[in-house]
């Protein structure tokens, strides 16, 4: 029987002890002495969030398929256990073998959102691994980062030995082989890092130096070690159908955020919304074969016993075999009591028909993401959704019996005017009006339109990477303008408006486009006690403000500036395939309110075709 790292007395006195005991169905146990590489894979947030992440499940499965690797999971201890671990000096441990993380060969951390950065330091600190890569010894694990935030790894540069830029399925095998070879040859940590730096897609931050201009902008960025390349190229899988996929993912005992089988149907998105980082990073769009997906669905449901299956992609409606796949899932599984959930679907006759079959109409709500209230603004962001389309979709839904609609918007977009803001309320009202056009005897009482807005954060490698942000008080002012306009609408009693917090937005903005200098702010915030910053109950803006002050860092430099056309960005040593020229052209088109057609309609020459595949490339050849 496995021995747990925590005593009964601790487990009985913390929230959800199941977070820390491992032993779930499909968790992989091996004999450590029979493997060569011990890899701890970490999502730096609480178990229920971390366990819901598909990327980790893919890598966990892929690593453990190698007989020479044992990969185990690690998550952030919740604040209650965090306190106990510090008081009693209990080192952070893995779930499967309950072994201290510092005894592993690798600690791989997935970095999915900016507000987890203090949790990364928590994981290192509780593991008793030196926070700075340069202070680590040969015995310490190699700390490697991956995930979307590594497309601007600079704020975290000091804390990581390596960053893996791109999709994990590609060069890990090479990296492991190099590691084993270095160990056989008795190489030092630095020698291993030098060899790793020569693998495409691997970035070793300590082998690079940044120089700054007097105004604080980046002057130069260059390798200081002959093994390190000056450009790091993003790695992607071209044959997504045959890429590794977990047929038997781990099934948590406690309810995770994603408590279902997740079937990733494609990668990338053809749409080209100008605010969307994923839409640029994961180009070109690559679809999985539908027959393969059907087999995967069967196996995964059988191996997990889950009662729900969900399709995952950035825009499911653009998957070419969607109808075939969804019909199969309904025919095969719906009778067996399996729920089918279809997020990110465009609302049309087909999707409404499917939803009628798999959902209780009275309880479920429909979601639209117009992202902006006015057509002008939607053209600026290149969101190819018109008012007619929204009203048409909502109308069909209302006639089909739905009464609840959710609308998602962004505030603080580039060029936004007061009229654009107010249009959010007006559009929501138009949706409600469409409902009340239905004769009274055919309606089911009142409708419920819930509009939510978040504040826009410009991200690296998007056409909006040059855009200025606003101050947190200006954001709140804009939300107030929208809120006021909602109160003036005809159907105000059927409308509800929610908006996000602006303080987190500003911080997210600093992290997203930050440079190496931001590392000290993160470290200072962590020392002051910041942790779980993405959780409202544990977010302390005043501590963050203190950290900026203590380090003499100017927030406005990172957020309020419109970046010059010629400015060199900290993340531009990475080549994602999509060119700077294309992004700039898109920025200029945005300023003129001109839309750009999607990748299936017309190739706009973004540069991603250089990978020699994907839907855009295939249609041309």
């Amino acid at each position: 029987m496995r021995k747990l790292a925590l005593e009964d007395e601790i487990l009985l006195n913390i929230e959800k002890p199941a977070r820390y005991i491992g032993g779930e169905l499909n968790a992989v146990m091996k004999k450590q002495e029979e493997t060569d590489i011990h890899f701890a894979i970490c999502f730096p947030d609480v178990y229920e969030v971390g366990m819901s992440h598909l990327g980790i499940q893919i890598l966990y499965d892929m690593f453990n398929k190698r007989s020479d690797v044992w990969c185990e999971r690690v998550y952030s201890p919740w604040t209650d256990l965090d306190k106990i671990m510090r008081e009693r000096e209990i080192p952070l441990f893995s779930l499967e073998s309950q072994t201290p993380v510092r005894e592993f060969d690798f600690l791989g951390i997935t970095i999915q959102f900016e507000m987890c950065y203090t949790n990364i330091l928590q994981v290192l600190d509780l593991s008793k691994i030196p926070l700075h890569a340069k202070e680590r010894q040969d015995k310490d694990p190699i700390v490697i980062g991956g995930g979307p935030c590594t497309y601007n790894p600079e704020p975290l540069a000091e804390f990581f030995d390596l960053f893996y830029i791109g999709e994990g399925e590609t060069v890990y095998d090479t990296l492991f082989d190099v590691y084993k070879q270095c160990r056989r040859e008795g190489r030092t940590r630095t020698e291993f890092l030098e060899r790793a730096a020569r693998i495409e897609g691997i970035y070793v931050p300590q082998f690079y130096e940044a120089e700054y201009n007097e105004d604080g902008t980046l002057a130069a960025f260059y390798p200081t070690n002959p093994h390190a390349p000056s450009v790091v190229k993003k790695q992607i899988v071209m044959d997504v159908t045959h890429a590794p996929y977990p047929e038997a993912p781990v099934v948590p005992f406690i309810k995770a955020v994603q408590d279902r089988v997740v079937l990733e149907i494609q990668r990338g998105c053809i749409r080209g919304c100008r605010f969307c980082q994923a839409g640029m990073l994961y180009r070109p769009t690559r679809e999985r074969d539908v027959e393969h997906l059907k087999q995967l669905a069967k196996k995964m449901l059988k191996n997990t016993g889950h009662e729900e299956i969900s399709l995952s992609s950035l825009s499911s409606s653009d998957y070419s075999k969607l109808k075939e796949l969804v019909s199969f899932l309904i025919d095969e599984f719906h009778e067996k009591g399996i729920n089918i959930s279809l997020p990110s679907l465009r609302i049309d006759a087909f999707s409404l028909d499917v939803m009628k079959k798999v959902q209780d109409i009275r309880k479920s709500s429909l979601t639209f993401a117009p992202e902006a209230g006015s057509q002008r603004m939607r053209n600026v962001i290149n969101k190819g959704l018109t008012e007619e389309m929204i009203l048409e979709g909502a109308g069909q839904a209302f006639e089909g019996g739905w009464t609840k609609v959710k609308l998602y918007f962004m505030l603080g977009l580039p060029t936004e005017t007061e009229d654009d803001m107010k249009e959010i309320a007006r559009l929501s009202d138009k949706v409600a009006r469409r409902y009340y056009e239905i004769p009274k005897e055919q309606r089911h009482g009142k409708c419920q339109i819930t509009a939510s807005s978040s504040f826009f954060v410009p991200k690296p490698f998007t056409p909006f990477q040059w855009a200025p942000m606003l101050t947190s008080s200006e954001y709140m002012h804009r939300a107030a303008v929208v809120n006021q306009e909602f109160k003036e609408q005809l159907n105000r009693k059927s409308l509800k408006y929610n908006w996000h917090d602006a303080q987190v937005t500003v911080l997210e903005g600093v992290m997203a486009r930050g440079d190496r200098k931001i590392g000290r702010v993160i470290e200072e915030a962590y020392r002051l006690g910041c942790l779980y910053d993405s959780w409202t109950e544990s977010f302390h803006n005043e501590l963050w403000m203190q950290a900026f002050e203590n380090t003499g860092t100017d927030i406005a430099f990172y957020t309020l500036r419109e970046r010059d056309e010629k400015e060199r960005f900290p993340w531009e040593f990475i080549d994602i395939g999509v060119t700077r020229g294309f992004l700039r052209k898109e920025w200029e088109r945005a300023m003129k309110g001109e839309i750009t057609l999607n990748c299936k309609e017309k190739c706009s020459g973004c540069g991603a075709a250089s990978f020699g595949g994907g839907v855009c490339f295939e249609s041309k050849n």
Partner: protein, 238 residues
């Protein structure tokens, strides 16, 4: 057809709460392809009811739940398939057909449970076995029972059916179920009060051994293990 499943819970699984154990078994049913029946309606759920939740931290050799079957399945085959679909810390012991009446479900007929309680060595006074006998021979045992809503003095003596030392552990048989229920921790708290010791300084480990139905009459109890009320399913007709 109704079936009763008996299982063990031990090791790390002791930290999985009751609701999550239910969720766990729902998934086991699917993985093992047990022909369990569902309720009707838009969100059908499995017909499954647990006899009595086990507290977090406790282990057990005698946990039960009843299910409704769409079609029969051989007991041996069902136990084998379920164990294949389980994890370390949960082991299915038996799968038996029970009477169809609603009032026969484990939850309704549960009357008593056995526990074995261990105390860290050397914590109790040397003559604790003698003391336990005097404690149990009291006509009344009053203790402050705290619930979420209230706290009140109750006499738990009538709810303790047996209490005796078993080597270095304490064995007890106590009332369990929806009518009357006493937890082993409460009995131990009363015993420590009797010894004039502070319960807060003690660490106990409780292990549930078995759960019983009462098939006797008002005059005399006749406890029968829940499992014994079922029969093995040996033949199935597809």
């Amino acid at each position: 057809m109704k079936a009763r499943i008996k299982f063990r819970k031990y090791g790390a699984m002791r930290f999985i709460g009751h609701l999550d154990v239910m969720r766990f078994f729902q998934k086991v049913m699917r993985r093992a392809e047990i022909p369990i029946a569902f309720t009707g309606g838009f969100s059908p759920h499995m017909i499954m009811s647990f006899a009595n939740p086990l507290g977090i931290g406790l282990s057990s050799d005698g946990e039960y739940f009843d299910i409704e079957l769409k079609e029969p399945i051989e007991s041996k085959e069902a136990v084998r398939r379920m164990n294949e679909a389980c994890v370390e810390g949960i082991e299915v012991i038996s799968f038996k057909k029970i009477a169809d009446e609603k009032k026969m479900t484990g939850m309704t007929i549960l009357a008593a449970a056995d526990y074995l309680t261990s105390v860290a060595a050397g914590q109790l006074p040397a003559d604790w076995t003698k003391q336990l006998t005097s404690f149990y021979s009291q006509p009344e045992i009053w203790i402050l029972k705290q619930t979420k809503r209230s706290e009140r003095e109750v006499n738990i003596r009538p709810l303790i059916y047996r209490l005796e030392p078993q080597e270095d552990k304490i064995y007890m048989q106590v009332a369990a179920g929806s009518k009357e229920n006493v937890k082993p921790g409460l009995v131990m708290e009363a015993f420590l009060n009797f010894l004039k010791l502070s319960p807060k300084e003690f660490k106990f480990f409780h292990h549930r051994m078995e759960m019983y139905a009462d098939t006797g009459d008002e005059k005399e109890k006749k406890l029968v293990a829940l499992e014994a009320l079922g029969k093995d399913i040996t033949q199935t007709y597809a």
